[in-house]
């Protein structure tokens, strides 16, 4: 079931926990960091409790046998939908930057990414 050679350690641990029906505790600070979501210290405990309850509830999916079941990511059955390659009017530069708080010479101004 588990391919021990190709999986990283944290995934092996999560596989192991899942296969023994141990509920995962969500690491709120780590997830918030991944989502670039600033949290206040006092929020962390509350969210940890609420999210753990929700995760405990969704564990019930484990009871469903999904061996050989294809996944469904969309329900329309449409494939390779393309628009005609035609130039159509677009927003002007002025309109495009009209909603930003931070601009310079008609461009979005952002914080430096590289030091």
């Amino acid at each position: 079931m588990t391919n021990w050679k190709t999986k990283p350690v944290y995934q092996l641990l999560s596989d192991l926990a899942l296969s023994y029906n141990i509920s995962m505790k969500i690491d709120v600070p780590r997830v918030a960091k991944l989502a670039n979501l600033p949290l206040r210290q006092e929020e962390k405990g509350k969210f940890e409790k609420q999210l753990s309850e929700i995760l405990a509830y969704v564990e019930k999916l484990k009871k469903v046998d999904t061996k050989n079941v294809e996944i469904t990511s969309q329900v329309t059955g449409l494939e390779n939908i393309k628009r005609e390659d035609k130039i159509i009017p677009s927003l002007s530069q002025e309109e495009a930057i009209s909603q930003t708080k931070s601009q310079h010479n008609g461009l979005f101004k952002v914080k430096a990414i590289l030091e």
Partner: protein, 469 residues
């Protein structure tokens, strides 16, 4: 009867026969909005613009112009981008955002001649079942101001139920149109996924979001879908099937139609009064000649669990764009429910958990969809209650997110399968709280749903009852 209580069809006739003007009609709606500010149905009211548009509509009518919604006042859920009109998604992140373009549906409704009276309140980003998650304060139920109106399209439902407009738009990702429609004694349509364009509507969960509307009766719902349905090159998931005249089967009745009752939807925890209203509805359909039978949708009980993996996963991705750089405030402005869903989705998509949660839920999605496919081999449509409970008290579930999520147990599977569902009024509790039933059909069966809904409505006439305001 006040002008603002008219249906779209009645108002159109009145306008055509010069019995009323769009200006008078729009003014009556605005008066009702201003008189009932305590319901908190609107985030933005476009009073001046609406009256100007109404005058223009009256001029066009006097020149015998005929457009399907000419002069009809309509409200928009504040998730629909409106050019030059603030669009907030009821979140502090977008409290000052003024879109540069209209959503396709807004463009279609405006081109049909409608008057936009304002932007309605909602659970921020459409995250919620009660209307209480708005950063602009909760909306209240006009039938009992201590109760929730249902969400997430709370303000749109309340605006129609309170006659502040003749119809309103909504979005339904897990029940956000049907649930508030049923809590307000009005008609709510969740169309087939892809039937109505999502372009320009702030995205919640892109594989589930359906764009629909609230009306006072079934016929108006069909009239409005005639305008909003169709392929849009700006939304690649819109279906290529040509839009039809959705009013064509309205009066065909239900005689001989096979209607199934999904056994798994009528569980022990169903509220007694909801159950009793549902059973009476079955009797009505039987008396009209429908053939009722029991059907099994065995994977229903996994609906909420699958939904609360798929939906937050897509939410975490869609809300990733709000960085405060190009527009809006930064990510510290998100409210609690958005934060919960972003974190839940980030977790279920993160390396190491993706297979166990996200992929598993997508496989269960296949099974839920198959349940419906099998059912529609045997019956033409399915009926069930919309919500397992009556409208609850404001504040009752707000600190228990899981309990709130379970209110959608009877609505989410429709979104998971991408099929259409119509919520229609089905009576009241002894304390005069509205109860609704939903009629579900296979993909693109909207005309049939209107046919069944209209037959039921003509027999019961619940929609004619109004809240005391």
């Amino acid at each position: 009867m006040n002008l603002n209580q008219l249906t779209i069809k009645e108002a159109k006739e009145g306008l055509k026969n010069k019995k009323l003007s769009s200006f008078e009609l729009t003014k009556a709606c605005l008066k009702q909005i201003n008189k009932n500010k305590d319901l908190n149905a609107f985030i933005t009211v476009c009073e001046k613009e609406a009256l100007e548009q109404a005058k223009k509509a009256d001029e066009l009518i006097s020149k015998r112009q005929d457009l399907p919604l000419l002069g009809i006042p309509i409200a928009l859920k504040d998730l629909f981008s409106t050019k030059e009109i603030r669009t907030t998604a009821a979140s502090k992140v977008l409290e000052n955002f003024i879109p540069q373009y209209n959503a396709t549906v807004v463009e279609k409704i405006k081109n049909a001649g409608a008057i936009i009276v304002g932007k309605t309140n909602l659970d921020a980003w459409a995250h919620g079942s009660s209307g209480e998650n708005s950063d602009f304060g909760p909306t209240k139920n006009p039938w009992n101001k201590e109760c929730v109106p249902g969400g997430s399209s709370s303000g749109s439902a309340v605006s129609v139920a309170s006659d502040m407009c003749l119809a309103a738009t909504g979005t339904d990702t897990g029940g956000s149109i049907r649930l508030p429609a049923s809590f307000n004694n009005i008609v709510g349509l969740k169309p087939t996924y892809g039937r109505v364009s999502r372009y320009g509507i702030i995205a919640m969960a892109s594989s589930l979001d359906s764009i629909g509307h609230f009306t006072k009766n079934v016929e108006d719902s069909a009239l409005l879908l005639n305008i909003t349905a169709g392929k849009d090159p700006l939304d690649a998931t819109t279906l290529p099937n040509p839009a039809e005249d959705y009013t064509k089967n309205l009066n065909k009745g239900v005689k001989g139609l096979k209607i199934g009752i999904p056994r798994e939807f009528v569980t022990a925890d169903l509220d007694k009064e909801v159950k009793s209203a549902f059973e009476k509805s079955i009797e009505v359909l039987k008396s009209l000649g429908a053939q009722i039978s029991e059907i099994s949708l065995p994977y229903t009980e996994y609906g909420i669990a699958a939904y609360y993996i798929i939906q937050p996963s897509e939410v975490s991705s869609n809300l990733g764009r709000y960085d405060g750089i190009r527009y809006g405030n930064d990510r510290s402005s998100f409210g609690d429910e958005a934060k919960r869903r972003i974190m839940l989705g980030t977790f279920t998509l993160s390396s190491g958990y993706y297979d166990a949660y996200y992929k598993k839920a997508m496989a269960v999605r296949t099974l839920i969809k198959k349940d419906f496919d099998n059912a529609f081999q045997k019956v033409d449509a399915l009926i069930s209650p919309v919500c397992p409970t009556l409208p609850w008290k404001l504040g009752e579930k707000i600190n228990d997110p899981l309990k709130m999520y379970l209110s959608d147990a009877l609505t989410v599977t429709v979104n998971i399968a991408g099929i259409p569902s119509l919520s229609v009024p089905a009576g009241f509790s002894k304390n005069k709280l509205p109860i609704g039933i939903q009629i579900m059909g296979k993909q693109l069966s909207e005309s049939l749903l209107f046919q069944i809904g209209n037959a039921f409505e003509k027999q019961t006439n619940f929609y004619k009852q109004k809240p005391n305001l």
